[in-house]
Amino acid sequence: MAKELKLMKGNQAIAEAAIRCGCDGYFGYPITPQSEVLEHLMAERPYLKTGMVVLQAESELASINMVYAGASTGKRVMTSSSSPGFSLMQEGLSYIAGAELPALCVNVVRGGPGLGTIQPSQSDYFQTTKGGGHGDYRLITLAPSSVQEMYDFVELGFDLAFKYRNPVAILSDGVIGQVMEKVMIDDYKPRWTNEYIEEHCPWAATGHRAGKKSTIVTSLELDSLKQEGVNKRIQEKYRKCEEEDARYEAIQCDDAEFIFVAYGSAARICMKAVELARAEGIKVGLVRPITLWPFPKKAVAEIGGRMKKILCVEMSAGQMIEDVKLAVECKVPVTHYGRFGGVIPTPVEIFDALKNMIK
């Protein structure tokens, strides 16, 4: 059995991908609209299949700190939550970035602020891409726009997390988490053995140092000059990541006069709006950032620079639009269309917004 086609929810795809890509541990706490991740894992009992550890923690604080410690031992560990829970994890994410550890954290966003709503939203863009926790760090952020990408980005997320030894976020939303779609799933990949980790992750505190010097995992450095050095090293990684790992998709942009810039489920809806507009002879395309950090600045600048106008569509009051404007250096007018608080825009209203912008 190499590949298999299955119908599943985005949240289940996250869980299934974790089991199949060799994830060592998942620690999570229930919250709508992402509880199916933990539910699927508990139902599948991966500890019997691959030896993967699954634990319902007492809170998101505990989950993220379990992830921090698990990552400290060189294991591929992850958690998932939705907005209020993700807010609780910020201190832990900052520790993971500060201690330079690889970890994966999924946020299936719901509308805020506060307890907000359980309906889908994209209002955690600032929190995820601009920091969220304290200190100068970045979360490498992947934005899936289909259930297949929910599946694929788990392994990709771990790969990027280990490449940069930095936390990676999958920034999804209640639409992609709950919708059911066909997904191509892989065969089970074996988890890394302890011996492999001990050999390949010299930074990991495995408790098995075999006579070698002991390993300390910490984000504390009281000497500010040394702390500045740590920061400089981390920033260098971020420059490399911006150079090598900014991802995007450009749809029907070659002949376009206008583009939508949208990610995640908003991008899916914009694809329909592109069809509607093109049927009426309006040449519009779509640029879909796949990594929100690093933001695909060059692509947005290059493609956006050729356009008459840009419409940034988000399920928020306007967050990614700031990065779009920075990318095109305000040389092209950028307008925002957003629904928020859990409201999902329709293709027709996006098309109307486009017509409004053009006239």
């Binding site: 060592d24 541990g25 620690f27 550890v53 634990l55 923690a57 007492e58 809170s59 604080l61 505990a62 989950s63 700190n65 379990m66 992830v67 921090y68 410690a69 698990g70 400290s72 031992t73 294991k75 560990v77 201190e91 832990g92 520790y95 201690a99 302890n194 505190a205 495995t206 408790g207 098995h208 140092r209 075999a210 006579g211 002991s214 390993t215 300390i216 995992v217 910490t218 984000s219 504390l220």
Partner: protein
Amino acid sequence: MTREDIIKPENLVYRRTPVLTDNVMHYCPGCGHGVVHRIIAEVIEEMGIQDNVVGISPVGCSVLAYNYFDVDFVEAAHGRAPACASAIKRLRPDTYVFSYQGDGDLASIGCAEVMHACNRGENITMIFINNGIYGMTGGQMAPTTLEGMETVTCPYGRDPELMGHTMRLTEVLAQLPGTYYVTRQAVYTPVLARKCKKAIRQAFENQKLHKGVSFVEITSNCNSGWKMTPVQANKWMEENTLKYFPLGDMKVDGKFAPNFMERVSTFDQPNETRFSLRSK
């Protein structure tokens, strides 16, 4: 005896354990943290598990514990050491895992994590240094600060009506089915330090049994925070702290120690005793 005789191995009476590094400890002279570090290091050496252990340091005066132990260490966020220890033990069950926390770290900000790690019966060793105060941040009130005791955030003495009561969390943890061994020790005299070492040894040995948490509270001093000399602080602790936090086992081999429930059954009585750090 000549110098040559003295250095013969068979005449060795005391040696610093190699599980402690040569780094100079930052602890105030007379502080209990350093003594407990040495005891843990000796236990690790004696059990021969130096290459097979991960320690978790807290946020508190012992945040830099990893500089003093020559074993693998992970520095946890404030209060989260039990969550860290749980994850590491589950991901590496072939490793001895211990957490080391102060009373602010464990009983205040980390109350949920310690309760749940104990309730899940994680197969780990927990060391709890209760000095009744936040040492590291300059002597603020902790949940364990005694009623009447002065700190910089209760300068007129802890008033239970305003600030809540002194928390005996260890007695609560002993009642959770996930704890297997729960004890309160001290290290301010050689005899007590030796007893404490036996307890810590037991708490590490228990990890072989997979029966749940082994929890050792060490009632300790903070001479800097209490604004006393080390000798005064130890005397004060003996005369005051130990009245409210009596030493001894609470749970052994998963069973309550004799008198434990009897003592707990008096907890509904109002606490009339007021303690003061100031000499009257």
